[in-house]
Symmetry: C2
Subunit: 544 residues, 2 copies
């Protein structure tokens, strides 16, 4: 069974050649992140990913998480691995220093996150969800909530879960029915059922902090009447010790196509007197808070696609080098050769590799822009970077995850008949990848967000700014191509045609969105894919 090897060299290439780390390290608060430190972080993370998390990936897939009378048990070895993860301080990597985090630039923590995902996606979901919950509390929680929950969530001693979905409320959160009754003492009693709650129940930590969307009495209908609550599994005493069990129970966990190691819970809130919850921020603004947090989560799911693709590639490459079958085509030599010598196997491997690298490059570009957007001293620069981030997050999410399914499927294909045998391991990546285009908003939801909120709303301003830069790259390629190599000229031409198509599509969206949104929306997903044609540019002339 081949284990995950963190692609540190490829990651360094991105940090030093494509998305200059030096620019990020000049940002306020990032000064300590030297190139050497970044390398050390990647090296250490790579060891944990490859040595500890990766071997547990198949264990999680085979054993799955187990439900027993309301309790959920993770697979063999997972508790110890989680403890090691927490002890190493990995959970706190990208959290804010004021709550005990290490405040690493997103550019670096994104690469580390890719490693967790590549090594063991089911495991990685737990800290990912915890970080989402941390961000919600950081962003809009009261000082008391922050003080009570953040320190232990940042270390990872407690985990977090995001409770949005209900049976009738999936993509459409306006339909949320869970109710929250104020008790007059600052607390609320929460009643309702939530489904598809990742790590909603587990045995990795002694407490779980649920972030729950619910409606207060008399709240407006639809999305404008949803509030966000903190509902801990165990109440927390004033002395920070754990108190009574809260009225939230795990009714069952799902039997899924993939990510078997990650428990997907059905949670019943308030089967008794009601689960005790605390409001986060203001009433009726829950969805707004959730959306800020969700953008971060969507970016993380994009990183899942990249990690899975890298892992699928590594396994397929190892197999292709070792599996001897047939002779080399076009030679007289009748010796059997490894299948990596066969042209179609090479084509598949190259496609897997090049797509994965381009997805990583794009994600890092966006991560660096996140750092700029949150830390740059210049207001305008921050705003422009944020616009770029907002525009590209649905693309990172949609494109990296759709690609991961294709890449994992190619990985199975390279294994031939062995790829279909579960013990081989290649099929797990395909099964795991299949969820990534669905959760945190389907590809269709990403594309609708892209054309509506990110393009039509600002009349295409952000995307036209990106297109302008694409044209620079096209010209640069054409010039260099003329002087040095034909290939670059060919790429420039293809890029040019892609940009023209993109411009036309943007014009169509901007002009049509207001008057015939149905018609424009039919092309949303193909448009999202088209926007990816700019990835061929590779190097971004100036960092956004």
């Amino acid at each position: 069974m081949s284990e995950y090897i963190a692609p540190i060299r490829d990651m360094q290439f991105v940090l030093h050649e494509l998305v200059p780390l030096e620019q990020v390290t000049r940002l306020p608060g990032c000064e300590e992140m030297t190139s050497d430190l970044a390398e050390a972080v990647l090296e250490e993370a790579g060891k944990l990913a490859g040595g500890v998390l990766s071997p547990l990936n198949v264990t999680g897939d085979r054993e799955g998480a187990r439900w027993d009378n309301g309790q959920v048990f993770t697979a063999s070895g997972w508790r110890a691995a989680y403890q090691q993860f927490v002890d190493g301080g990995w959970n706190a990597l990208s959290c804010a220093p004021e709550h005990g985090g290490q405040g690493l630039p997103r550019l670096v923590s994104a690469l580390v996150e890719e490693m967790w995902n590549g090594a063991n996606l089911s495991f990685a979901l737990c800290p990912m969800l915890t970080r989402g919950a941390i961000e919600s509390i950081e962003l809009c929680g009261s000082d008391s909530l922050k003080k009570t929950y953040l320190p232990k969530m940042v270390t990872g001693e407690w985990t977090g879960s995001m409770n949005l979905t209900e049976p009738q409320a999936g993509s459409d959160l306006a339909a949320v029915r869970t109710r929250a009754e104020p008790q007059g003492d600052g607390t609320y009693r929460i009643k309702g059922q939530k489904i598809f709650i990742t790590y909603g129940e587990h045995d990795l930590t002694e407490n779980i902090v649920h972030l729950v969307l619910a409606r207060t009495p008399g709240a407006p209908e639809g999305v404008k009447g949803i509030s966000l609550f903190v509902v801990p599994k165990f109440l927390v005493n004033p002395d920070e010790s754990l108190g009574a069990r809260n009225d939230v129970r795990c009714v069952s966990i799902e039997h899924k196509l993939g990510i078997h190691g990650s428990p997907t819970a059905v949670l019943a809130f308030g089967d008794g007197e009601g689960a005790i919850g605390w409001l986060v921020g203001e009433e009726n603004r829950g969805l707004e808070y959730m959306f800020i947090m969700m953008n971060a989560a969507r970016f993380s799911v994009g990183l899942e696609g990249i990690g899975l693709s890298e892992r699928a590639y590594q396994r397929a490459l190892a197999y292709a080098k070792g599996r001897v079958q047939g002779t080399a085509i076009g030679t007289k030599n009748r010796d059997k050769v490894a299948i990596i010598r066969h042209p179609d196997v090479r084509r598949m491997l190259m496609l897997m590799k090049s797509r994965t690298e381009s997805m990583r490059a794009l994600a890092c570009l966006v991560a660096a822009a996140m750092d700029t957007a949150s830390r740059h001293p210049d207001t305008e620069r921050r705003a422009q970077s944020q616009a770029f981030v907002d525009l590209m997050i649905p693309v990172v999410k949609g494109w990296s995850t759709e690609s991961s399914i294709e890449i994992a499927s190619l990985g199975v294909q390279i294994h031939g008949g062995m790829g279909f045998i579960e013990e081989t391991g290649a099929a797990q990546y395909l099964r795991d990848a299949r969820i990534t285009t669905i959760y945190e908003g389907t590809t269709g939801v990403q594309a609708a967000d892209l054309i509506g909120r990110k393009i039509a709303r600002d009349q295409g301003q952000a995307v036209l700014w990106v297109i302008e830069h694409m044209r620079d790259v096209e010209r640069l390629l054409a010039r260099t191509g003329l002087e040095q190599a034909d290939d670059l000229a060919v790429i420039s031409k293809a890029l040019g045609a892609g940009i023209t198509a993109l411009e036309q599509a943007v014009a169509f969206i901007v002009s049509g969105y207001g008057c015939d949104v149905q018609k424009v929306s039919v092309g949303a997903v193909p448009f999202l894919e088209l926007l990816e044609s700019w990835r061929v540019a590779g190097r971004w002339p100036t960092q956004p």
Copy 2:
């Protein structure tokens, strides 16, 4: 749980509008196949598929086949269903009348086969493999072999299996090591291990007739030293009763990503004195016989892709009509609507539907050409039809199966989070579809066959003949488009560009195959996909 509904109306459309059934019924031996009879056959097959086989699809997936001490047990209800299948005469549908078959035109039996695949692929594999074994014996078996085995194989009382693969011999059958020692009495003793043997062991029938590739002593190395043998599970007495158990044992069955209902056996031949086998045809010509049979099997696997796609579409459509989520975009109406009203869901459904219909149309065109190739009185017409069949079989196989993965995956996507839950059923189609691009030759093997044996070998003659017809369609569309509808002109233009690309690619293959086969082969799979652009033509002006 929604059951399969045979798409009889769509099938009738193909028979009457695209690939005229009347032309096939004019062929010698097909006169009885009136339009009414074809309809009756489709109706009855549809009842069995939807009413009996479809409900067992999920049973097979969940229970799987079970191995116990050399015996293999199929899932609950499967034995009874198989008996019903045999009793109804369905196994004999496309077999030759001289051995008890009904000799239906391939055009009609292909549609029936699509139904079995759509209803329950794991089940359908059993008669599919039996038919392959029947064809091998029919084609080159001695009269004695035919007399002993064919009658009961044609009815389905006995099944057949195809034993090609060994651990070191997958796509490369030159590496087969199983040995066959002549005993001087007309029999051989077979020793060796075969893997990935579909229905190599099961409890559906009392006997199984294995067709086995093996080497005789002193046979040439490589593909020119492989012979084909009949090795029954139980020897057959002169009075046609079953005799001694032969020395072939099922060592284990595989734990697979999909088609759980279909046992995939590891068979040990000759752990004792050697399994008794009989030579089929002449020594050292086994691979040649296998290839004739394999072309038929590849076409059948193409039909698997079509059946699965239809099934995935039906389930996704039903879900999209029933699942209420969100409001209609672009209207003021805030009522919740079924998700089929959302543009991106419609786009996915239309893609699934249109691709499935076009795959079916192409497969039927090829099936009709098979009928012409085997029955037309005119030699030249037969040869031309056969050339068309040979050219298109890798395309039907490669394209329909690759598409089926994509379509089944879209089916999961339409279900959102529910698609990832195994109980929903959509994920099974994706898991099942994933094998179809691998077995009976991977897509890479299909594409290599296409550009090598089917295009380079005849200098592109067959494909250029097809291209000529494509140009006719392009012109027809352009003319009609000018007169009646813009859309047709647009399609004509796109088709024209596709044909031009195809012509260029064919010229590249024909000129490059001899001198730089590596370079040409890298593009083989993309070329196979390109050849499919002609599917937009829809209607074939004259039947090949």
